[in-house]
């Protein structure tokens, strides 16, 4: 359970998050909204890259904002990035092991856990391959493997299927749907692909200009008139 109360972020005159109040329950939750709505800023606040001017975030009854950014991963916060950031110089194995060795899980099960995470995301390749030699879809899966290794509690996926062809988006969707059950982590998915969001998330929250405008069961939220207006413009396209 993540509870966000009165969260505001300001960059000079811009307010990417404006008194945001929302809570995310177990399972996979969607977070959508037009470009610039504040989705990535919200993730950056959770990761500790951006300091909010007001508000609190409680995750599993702990004050997330009080933790140093690099400690949050140890606590169990994982994320992927909008522009994928798998480490090119390292092998697939080392990319995942890097997260595991900074988690709370001991070294004894490292090898097994890392290989499990790699096979969980469906990467069928030599784990010693350098990530720099992989294609875009595979790199995104490496990032997801990094997010599910070492007992995560919260997994943030920032447009994990951006730029992927339909077939690979489908594959990504299958992986995402299994994350809560496989890891027990609360998963938040940001994406512009409504097909992916509706197939993965029971509940969805919608941001527009830094404010939460709707939240609830995904199908209902996507039918909400305010959401359609914010997301697609004034004319209904659905």
């Amino acid at each position: 359970m993540i509870e966000v109360t009165g969260l505001s972020v300001r960059f000079g005159g811009v307010t990417p998050l404006d008194d945001m109040n929302v809570s995310f329950a177990e399972g996979t939750c969607g977070l959508i909204g037009p470009n610039g709505a504040g989705k990535t800023t919200f993730f950056n606040v959770l990761s500790g890259f951006v300091r909010p001017v007001a508000g609190t975030v409680r995750a599993f009854d702990q004050d997330l904002l009080g933790m140093a950014h690099f400690r949050r991963a140890r606590w169990g916060l994982r994320r992927t990035f909008q522009t994928e950031q798998a480490i090119e110089q390292l092998s697939v194995f080392d990319n995942v092991a890097m997260v595991h060795e900074h988690s709370k899980v001991g070294a004894a099960s490292r090898r097994k856990d890392v290989l499990d995470a790699i096979s969980f995301v469906g990467l069928d390749l030599d784990p010693q391959l350098r990530v720099g030699t992989l294609g875009a879809g595979e790199r995104r899966l490496v990032e997801v493997a990094r997010a599910v290794v070492g007992r995560p509690r919260v997994v943030l996926l920032d447009e994990p299927a951006a730029g992927l062809p339909d077939q690979e988006t489908e594959r990504m969707g299958e992986v995402i749907r299994q994350i809560p059950e496989h890891t027990g982590a609360l998963t938040i998915l940001v994406d512009h692909d409504m097909g992916l969001v509706s197939s993965c998330c029971e509940k969805t929250a919608v941001l527009d200009f830094g404010k939460l405008i709707a939240s609830g069961p995904t199908a209902e939220v996507l039918r909400d008139e305010r959401v359609i207006r914010a997301y697609l413009g004034t004319e209904s396209v659905l």
């Binding site: 990761s47 890259f49 194995f93 890097m98 060795e101 070294a107 090898r111």
Partner: protein, 361 residues
Amino acid sequence: MSAAGVETADTTTQPPSSPGGFDTRTLVRPAVIAALLLFVVLALPSILSTYYVDAMIQVAIWSIVALGLGLLVGRVGLVSLGQAAVLALGAWVAARILFATSLPYPLVLLAAGLITMVLGTLVGLPALRLSGLYLALITLMLAGAITVVLATTNFPNGGHGFLGYNGSAVHIPQIRRPSIANTDTAFLRYSVIVAALMFLLVLAHVRTRPGRAWAAIRQSESAALAAGINTTLYKLWAFALASFVTGVAGGLLAGSSRYLYSYDFTTQESITLLAVVLMGGIFSLWGAIIAGLLLQLLPQLLNSWGVSPDWLTILFGIGVLQVLLTAPAGLVDQVPKDLARLGRLLRGLARRVAPAGGRSP
């Protein structure tokens, strides 16, 4: 971090892949490296003339310095233009200890390494806030400052106190060498072994937990933080390790030159060092050895051929341009590739010629 953690991390990096590749990679490469090392330690010093023995000692020393800088630039992405000054610090500390005490040489090297590590990490503190051009400028300024201090206070030459400078210059004692390595050939062997140990030390870091953390920091600090890596700690760790090996190199330099105060540690040298390290290749440890050869053997070769070493400044300039434009991984990566390309070209030519003459059984 527990010792067990490091050990496991070490074993996890062993390639579990195809059995064919496994054998050749894990056995042949170390064997070739060991053979090469044995040749350099046992055979090479007795073959070379005094002139080249001297040059090769410098190659061993500067390979260690290049190793430290290559670690910073190539693995962590921190550009330092102050490494020659860090080397001078190591040499100073070692010279002072060598004059003031009768500690065994390996301990002196260790002490020089550790003290330089502390000082060098201080030089690295700005790296926590700065990167790229600004970090390069700051380290350049610090190097300049250290050079000025050296110029005004002189290197220790056996006098009293930390400065240890004896201005009378009537009887100037030599800096002592290890008792087992008093001659130049023995000192070359000694230096090569110390260099090999430093390479192993760095390799042990690069292949394990810190190496992975550095690779992450180099590509993306956000990704590193999101993976739970304490970027501040690992950046300082990199500076500490680079300064340690450079300090040890300084200790060797003190013994090799015997009269250190005749040695210049100019800021220019730090800049040339960066250029040569880039040329050698910053992503491979072999690149550091190539950098050492370029920096210390090439000038001696040119000298003996009667070519002015001044040409090197131009050559290194062109070399850096070439590396930046066409071969970011340096000579160590480019030469084998070009040789392979040449091989394919020759084979292609041979095949084209073959059908005419090669048909008869």
